[in-house]
Symmetry: C2
Subunit: 297 residues, 2 copies
């Protein structure tokens, strides 16, 4: 739990970091390649479920560091419920587990279970609020990845696997652009109180990276995207990625932690929240774009 | 804001209390009587919107008393969104404002708006968590009242107005049963750490009141209920009412306030949260019963 136990991101650690990234990438591309098979969709949901659990745990641990007692258990149930809903939604069977039932049921579980926890009664309102936040943040952020992956045939780009690849490449090239441009040219602070290292130059680099990513996707993966799609999607994912990154920074800052790592991670990669923060708002944003601009469900 | 400014529930205040209850009851029964008219459903939604705003404000004020900075504005937007969704759902037009859009949109609004508030950055995680909680608690709790009211013709009891009358009478007679039995016979503490005045005897009185309420409803209002419906609905609403009451007590206890009143209320009636706490979980529970047991949407 202490800052000392966080992994060092130095060269000693690089082999571990690269090999686990390699294994993850291999798994990811395998699932995308077989994206039309139902086992691939189920396996992806399983991976999201693990990531959701670790992410909810990190968010509740940040809450615990601040003296609250959010519930990892009920928060994880909420996140899993949202992901399962998105899976069923993709199969056009969302009425089997509708969102109203997830929300009303989660309300009963989160608030009633807390009554039987002695510790939860101190700071009850904040603790239960953080449980809601953690479950919804991971559930919505990861669930929409599942929903994107479930697209089949009739989509803007034929299969959900292409959309998921687009999501990751656009967001990650944005992260890379922010890092290198910010490091090389960063002068004007973007949000000094939240994240002192971020600069407006880095934000511009982020958007350039997003546009580069979207252009690569248009050329090689989703060739049916129009130039408007390329720029609109790049800009949309860029802006919510930058803001999403800042949101997670405020949480860490308020708890006085520097990364979200609390004992469980992809080896060498630190906290899950730090990995997913730009993706969490980008996934529903990409789905909303496809839904409202291209009329696809 | 201080404890001194809360209304006194003494005899001096009784006339004000009774007259505002009378006006509210007159309005309520008028809306129920004209329950099939669309203006009645819209007016009811307007009342719920006001109650939701005041309730969200009380929940965020409890959070502020504890040093957090939840947003009344974004929490109210979330609650209103859920209520509007329930209205459209009742018109079978829920796809015009689906829950996925409400949740993903609320995530963006709650978390992004907080970035631009200087104060929200302290205790950001807990503050944003309380905003989610306040919006969902009031939104779900009141939204399902609207959903129940929207039932027309094809329901278990012909019109939604009857179901709403059932909800209120069963819950309120339960509250009355708990009060009188608890006062007369209360010995064994139900939850001494949360709410020292509540007893197991009071809880039994609560369920007796619920059964009395459900029986009256069956005899005069919803004559198509079976005896199983009477006991199942009474027991379900009783249990979630008792637990819901305790949940709100833990919030107040954790903030050191005795009632949820923060400057706005029905004259003489104190805080809105104190009025609705037994109803919040009862409304979705009654809908779930009607939906799953009787197959109605």
């Amino acid at each position: 739990m202490s800052q000392d136990s966080k992994p060092c991101f130095d060269k000693k650690n690089l082999a571990l970091r690269l090999s686990s990234a390699g294994i993850f990438a291999l798994l990811f591309f395998t699932l995308l390649w077989f994206g039309k098979e139902s086992w691939a969709k189920l396996t992806y949901m399983g991976i999201l479920a693990i990531v959701a659990f670790v992410g909810v745990r990190e968010a509740t641990m940040i809450g615990r560091k601040m003296g609250h007692f959010p519930s990892t258990f009920t928060g994880t149930l909420l996140a899993w419920g949202f992901i399962v809903h998105c899976y069923l939604w993709g199969l056009e069977r969302s009425e089997a587990f509708p969102l109203w039932l997830l929300l009303a049921g989660s309300g009963a579980v989160i608030h009633f279970v807390a009554l039987f926890s002695r510790r939860n009664l101190d700071n009850a309102l904040a603790s239960q609020g953080i449980t809601w936040l953690a479950g919804l943040y991971l559930g919505i952020g990861l669930g929409f990845q599942q929903k994107l992956f479930m697209f089949n045939e009739t989509t803007l780009s034929n299969t959900g696997a292409r959309l998921l690849l687009a999501l990751f490449l656009i967001v990650w090239l944005g992260d890379a652009g922010a890092y290198f441009v910010g490091k090389g040219f960063g002068k004007h602070k973007l949000a000094p109180k939240v994240s002192p290292k971020k600069s407006w130059e880095g934000a511009v680099g982020n958007i350039i990276g997003n546009i580069a990513g979207a252009t690569i996707i248009k050329l090689f993966v989703c060739t049916d995207w129009s130039p408007v799609d390329v720029f609109a999607i790049a800009f949309l994912l860029g802006v919510v990625g930058i803001l999403g990154d800042l949101v997670e920074s405020t949480w860490k800052r308020s708890a006085g932690v520097k990364d979200s790592y609390f004992g469980i991670s992809i080896p060498g990669h630190g906290g899950i929240l730090d990995r997913v923060d730009s993706l969490v708002f980008a996934a529903p944003a990409l789905y909303a774009y496809i839904h409202f601009i291209h009329g696809l469900n």
